[in-house]
Symmetry: C2
């Protein structure tokens, strides 16, 4: 089977699919990628649970067999991508000569890559009767993921916290992530047919982060379907399938006390830059101390034993309630402020045991909330 494809298109598809190739795996075949050449063009497929990515390059080839009639060929993913990256721009001819060889012709070069029968590659999980079907603009989905995915837990101690909790009632989509010290949530209005069923699932954070990187086509939309075990994200030329996490997600309804003691309105970018500088001298624990100086200004203080200390001031736009004096992890706050990405921000402080809440100005149809547990210090 032989097909001609442009180098740029093939490289893009290869790079997208390779995101599902695990960096290391006990199963050597998972360092490979399945290539199928068929009547509708080229299909690339990589990964196994929790993440499988399938990419299609549509080139009508009426003479070739249907996709289902051939297992395809597993080729080493990294070598294949390295070769295509180095090929000159222009047409590339791919030919599967038998069950174990892929020929790549471009310019004056001929590469022959050893492969194995696609039958040996772990089968991608099939979705059952879908309980959810949503359509979202890529820009909305990408932005929502970027706003929360950083806050998932990096530790496997509570596997459920490595996931992003997603809930849709057909009118709104809510994404939540927390590692139990910080919490991020974002909600967007979504326009779906009125019979869209409600849905709740916990999607591994790593899959969500890869999905956000893959959503480069800002014009397009993503179709989401899911059953009890699996969620799939379809764009025009790619499908990312992802096994869901199972377990009880911690309750998120009563995280914020009723009334704040203090409320500050600040410029997000100014606060971010000041905290980034203060964390340079805030020691290993990254402890940043914030206190109101006047109605117009708050001070941020950091101290690193034997290295030095730092004091920054940021202007306050409005203040309500008492003043505040509180310490927090500067690195965690930086992550939150980067996710908020500009505009103005409401910081709310509660009594001693309460969290710090950060809430950006709501945009059209969407709102976000971030919480950070303060650090108790002797100060």
């Amino acid at each position: 089977m032989k097909i001609e494809v442009s180098q740029a298109e093939l490289l893009h598809a290869l790079q997208q699919t390779a995101r599902a190739v695990p960096p290391s795996s006990p199963l050597p075949i998972l360092a490979g990628m399945v290539l199928r050449i068929h009547r509708e063009g080229i299909t690339l497929l990589a990964g196994s649970s929790p993440m499988v990515i399938r990419t299609d390059i549509r080139i009508p080839m009426p003479g070739l067999p249907r996709e289902t009639e051939d297992n395809g060929l597993v080729v080493p993913a990294r070598t294949f991508a390295d070769i295509v990256r180095k090929l000159p721009p222009g047409p590339v001819e791919l030919e599967q000569t038998d069950r174990s060889m892929l020929c790549i012709r471009a310019g004056s070069g001929l590469f022959r890559l050893c492969g194995t029968d696609g039958e040996e590659y772990p089968a991608a999980p099939e979705i059952g009767r879908p309980t959810l079907q949503l359509r979202l603009p890529n820009t909305v989905l990408k932005s929502m993921i970027r706003q929360v995915a950083f806050a998932v837990s990096a530790s496997e101690t509570r596997p459920i916290l490595t996931g992003v909790w997603c809930r849709s009632d057909g009118e709104q989509l809510k994404l939540v992530a927390t590692d139990s010290v910080r919490f991020a949530s974002t909600t967007s209005r979504i326009e779906q047919p009125s019979d869209t069923p409600p849905f709740e699932a916990i999607v591994p954070g790593r899959c969500m982060a890869e999905l956000a990187k893959m959503l480069q086509d800002d014009q397009g939309e993503t179709r989401i379907d899911a059953d009890e075990a699996l969620i799939r994200f379809h764009t025009a030329d790619m499908t990312l399938s992802c096994s869901l996490l199972h377990g009880a997600y911690p309750p998120i309804d009563r995280l914020v006390p009723a009334r704040p003691n203090c409320e500050l309105k600040v410029d997000t970018e100014k606060l971010l830059q000041a905290i980034e500088r203060v964390t340079l001298l805030s020691g290993e624990g990254c402890v940043v101390f914030l206190h109101t100086v006047s109605a117009e200004s708050a001070a941020l203080v950091g101290q690193a034993a034997e290295v030095g200390d730092v004091r920054e001031e940021v202007p306050i736009e409005t203040v309500a309630g008492e003043g505040v004096a509180i310490s927090f992890n500067g690195k965690y706050m930086t992550d939150i402020l980067r996710a908020i990405a500009g505009g103005t921000l409401m910081l709310r402080f509660y009594d001693k045991l309460g969290p710090i809440a950060a809430e950006p100005e709501p945009a059209a149809g969407s709102s976000s909330l971030y919480l950070l547990t303060p650090i108790r210090t002797s100060r």
Copy 2:
């Protein structure tokens, strides 16, 4: 002592000086950098043998002491650079408040950085009676270093081969580097006063590579002076001092046999791209097999056990002598072709025991020669 400097200028000087800070050192003080604030401005100094870098920011401060009257302050180099990188553009005030504290003020921030007395920093070696004084345009020096420095030995087995051998007769400057498998040399005409004495020295390759990176000012020139132990490169605002290597450099006069068996003229860029692709499938030894196919074309072949193989053709512009069939390390040849950087190239092949010679077309007043020991294979 207090001085005001622009953030951009301070950052540039810090980044240049930090090149001499060793990545790790048994002497903790070498993670620091000496800062001196004095009548002529700011001096930054870092490193110890073999490489010391001194950078000056000239700001006339008539009220301050002379540079020699104060030891300055050793501050943690990396933290200092990180802080200045994060400061807003605009003026930065540096104040040395006592023998152990540097205050940095910018915008609404105040950093206090702990330091130690500059007296404790290893003294930079002083040059004796110089045997060499040369002036070279930065572009010439940078280009010459880039053409040979990659070929120094990475192994300390023969320390002398980790250096670049430099020779000047007052009319020409020649730089040579070899790790005994590959050899690179370049010669440039230099216009110096007629009484310039001849000179020969072996400069550590790492210092030469850092120097090439620092020569960003294409308009300027570098003044070189040296004695038996030390060479110094001075630009408008920076001095790099470097301890010389001592020992007998291998003889380089009779490396090339008298007459080649075969001579091919090829386009450097086309050959480079073809070899880069072939090395993707040339196995762990990176063995590339080259053979002439016709008077117009040569083939390059690579083979990686259990992964695949590759064949590329490159056009030949002219050919002289017999055909050729020879194997070499593709990675090493790639380094050579990258150093040559374009144009056309003469490849010469000798008998079985001889090297492969690569010679780019000589440019105005300069010429280069590269040699590579072939790999003996059963082919």
